[in-house]
């Protein structure tokens, strides 16, 4: 068994008292970094790289520390999503949808424990997937050209309508606003600035972290100020922390499906953890149907996105290690770390440097178990955040938001932009317009646009290319080269239309029984 000897090699590299200590420290730091709004896994890893060098860590130890921080942050992001309705990092966005309602209903402890287990499940699934299939999976990336990516993003947007709002038109409006904001900045195809007003700070567009922290954290504080401290929704009820075994066993199917979706989204370069958790949530919502009650605070609603985004985090390591193509911001940072350590990821890494690859995989497994052991008992500690009165908690949130955003680019312009988004978020809350689609528009809009424009350049503006047809030769005409774009587009149309019909079919009998 080559696999076991490889794993043994990995553990022999990664298992020493010192690296174990690094794993525990990394997991702890990562959880905190993930939980702080604004500081996501990519900033966390980037900030800690100098630490790794000043400690003089060797390649394996540095990798153990960084992956522990990475996975820790992926776990930690859920905490502020559930307790404060503020996503700790962008992939944790979807966890607010059911996590926060659960916390409001007095089930904060349950939500944290269940999402912790789901994170563990997703991450473990992805690590095993990485272990067994990495060299094979990297081939998927070769099947995805511009048309395929465009269809994939269209699929994500087509399901946006039903998200987080009773009013589909408002959700659609919000996603259009998000797409509009995504247009700001340098155009990736021509290098020309768009809608920047000549301002250098807007050249790279609006950072989605600025938008997230503004729309969620700052807007929350504005609502609090407006109501003179009485009506802030942060006053969630404190529940008992127990192990919700029944919910857990019922959710195994959910976790498995979400992990598969998340992992695949992670493997595709450029899709990443946010798309993973989003597709996992929407997919599971469709599986459960109206009876599932997604969006009202159901356990499966927190398990699906958390399994999805942690699986995607592991999946994103596949293209990073085998192609040298980072699938997300954090893997880009890890790639930089590897390069600095004179390790060049690419197709030959698995054969050239098995010690690094299997050491990394072993450290991922170790980090995962450490995080499970750490996160479930620590839930009690986290839940105590809720007993802090809002007038103490909110200024703290505000301060962390400012420091976090400032650390992104070191420019006060981002702080002004964040406050601007806070005001927008407050207005939208008054109008009952959901803010989640805005963020997703900013997050995925550029990728979708780039994919479409690349497809149009390659095909000389021929729309048939988007369905998988390619001009071959004058004699043979068009060639149907791939079924992937068409199948994804069919799914997208189904995803958009099906909920409208299903709602009609399902709602009527329900209305009678109510």
């Amino acid at each position: 068994m080559e696999l076991f000897s490889n794993l043994a090699l990995g553990f022999s590299v990664a298992l020493s008292p010192f690296t174990l200590f690094l794993a525990v420290a990394g997991c702890f730091l990562g959880t905190i970094i993930g939980a702080l709004p604004g500081l996501g896994p990519s900033n966390g890893v980037a900030i800690l790289i100098p630490l790794a060098f000043s400690l003089g860590l060797d390649a394996t130890s540095a990798l153990v520390l960084m992956t522990a921080v990475y996975y820790g942050a992926m776990y930690g992001g859920r905490i502020s999503s559930i307790l404060l309705n503020i996503p700790g990092d962008e992939p944790a966005l979807m966890t607010t949808l059911d996590g926060y309602p659960m916390a409001k209903a007095g089930r904060a402890g349950d939500a944290l424990v269940l999402s912790g287990f789901a994170s563990f499940f997703g991450a473990l699934f992805a690590t095993i997937g990485l272990m067994l299939l990495a060299p094979l999976l990297s081939r998927i990336a070769y099947q995805f050209g511009p048309s395929e990516y465009f269809a994939l993003y269209l699929l994500a947007f087509s399901t946006l309508g039903g998200i987080a709002s009773k009013n589909q038109a408002k959700a659609a409006l919000a996603s259009c606003i998000g797409l509009g904001i995504a247009m700001i900045g340098l155009d990736n195809q021509t290098g020309m600035p768009r809608f920047t007003g000549g301002n250098l700070h807007l050249m790279d567009g609006v950072d989605f972290l600025v938008a997230i922290v503004g729309l969620f954290a700052v807007a929350e504080v504005f609502v609090f100020i407006e109501s003179h401290g009485r009506e802030s929704s942060i006053g969630v009820k404190l529940g008992k922390v127990t192990l919700p075994v029944r919910d857990l066993t019922k959710g195994i199917g959910t976790m498995l499906r979400s992990s598969v979706i998340g992992f695949i989204a992670g493997v595709l370069p450029g899709a990443g953890a946010s798309l993973g958790s989003f597709l996992a949530y929407m997919g599971e919502k469709n599986v459960q149907g109206e009876k599932g009650g997604f969006g009202t605070g159901v356990p499966k609603g927190v398990m699906a996105p958390e399994a999805g985004n942690n699986a995607a985090a592991g999946g994103a390591l596949v293209p990073m290690l085998t192609l040298g193509v980072p699938g997300s911001g954090t893997t880009a940072v890890l790639l930089a770390l590897l390069l600095t350590l004179n390790i060049t990821p690419g197709p030959t890494l698995f054969t050239d440097r098995p010690d690094v690859v299997w050491g990394l995989i072993a450290s991922l497994l170790i980090a995962n178990f450490v995080l499970l052991a750490m996160n479930v008992p620590m839930v009690k500690m986290f839940v105590h955040i809720l007993s802090v009165p809002a007038w103490v908690l909110l200024p703290g949130v505000m301060m962390i938001s400012f420091v976090g955003i400032y650390s992104l680019s070191g420019s006060y312009f981002d702080l002004l932009l964040m406050i601007f988004f806070g005001i927008i978020g407050w207005i939208f809350r008054k109008l009952d317009v959901p803010t989640v689609p805005i963020i997703l528009g900013i997050l995925l809009g550029n990728h979708m646009e780039d994919a479409l424009r690349r497809a149009m350049i390659l095909s000389d503006g021929d729309w048939r290319f988007l369905f998988g047809f390619r001009w071959h030769t004058p004699s043979s005409g068009y060639e149907f080269y791939s079924a992937i774009p068409s199948s994804l587009l069919v799914l997208a149309v189904a995803g958009f239309v099906a909920p409208i019909f299903l709602r009609r079919v399902i709602k009527k009998p329900q209305a009678v029984s109510d």
Binding site: V45, P50, G191, D204, V333, P347, G410, S411
Partner: protein, 321 residues
Amino acid sequence: MQTKVRALALGAIMSVAGSAALAATECIAPANPGGGWDFTCRQIGKILYDIGQVDSPVQVTNMAGGGGGLAYSHVVNERGDDNNLIVAASQATATRLAQNAYAGLTADQVRFVGAIGADPGVIVVAADSPFMSLGDMVDAIKADPGSVAFGGGSAAGGFDHLKVLMVLKEAGFTDITKVKYIGLDGGGDAITQTIGGFTQGMTGDMSEIVGFLQSGEVRALAVLTEERVPGFEDIPTALEQGFDVVAVNWRGLYVPKGISDADFEAWGDRLQAVADSQAWQDAMVANGLAPFTKVGGDFQSWVDGVIADTVELSKEIGVIQ
């Protein structure tokens, strides 16, 4: 007030990082972690400390924005005389200055210390491509410009795009606006699109293709250097195939304009020491960089020449007026 806030925030970050005092040398990487500028800062910063050229570890600050423009304007406007500051630069910095992409800022507002390594430009095809030489590819484009699409890691008009255009111009193909080019998110993406058959050629840097060359999934048609690159002797240069094009993505540093000549010389010497170190030689080999050392006044005049050439080519393809 503003500086106070910055000092506070920086202090907060540094205490998280457990790093050295504020007086330490700062290297600004004008991009997010993971790219070439980040590599330059981290690698040079690490070696500077390891070989004792600076007393404490170099603090790397990632200041992404405007394709390096934000960092450039920060250095010009706010750090004009900071002699403890170095900033990572590359050919991309020169290209953007030439194309006036930094909101009116010009190359003479900083001092270029030197380059200590260059990532050679390459033109690559998938292993199963019908093109066996650069000439084959040029002929195909001359016959039907739409039949060959290039992928690269920069936007249209960026350096990766310009490399292809330089070769085609040299070959006497004048209709360069007809050449198909798509900008992707980095060289790795460009290579996967080429292996997948979505683009017929990839234009990029040697460092981006090393792993794929070794695994045999791509073939390099030409390297755009004066001589063959050590370690990659089987890749012919464009020059020996009859196309007089040299395009390398040099890696180097600039410093603020207002520092004293003595400080400027000192940075040149330190950079030279890094260039001479074994650690840098190893890092270059591991990352597909070719030797390319120009330090001090020589380098400044060389950069000026590169910028003038880029201005001319950019006008021709209509990127600037």
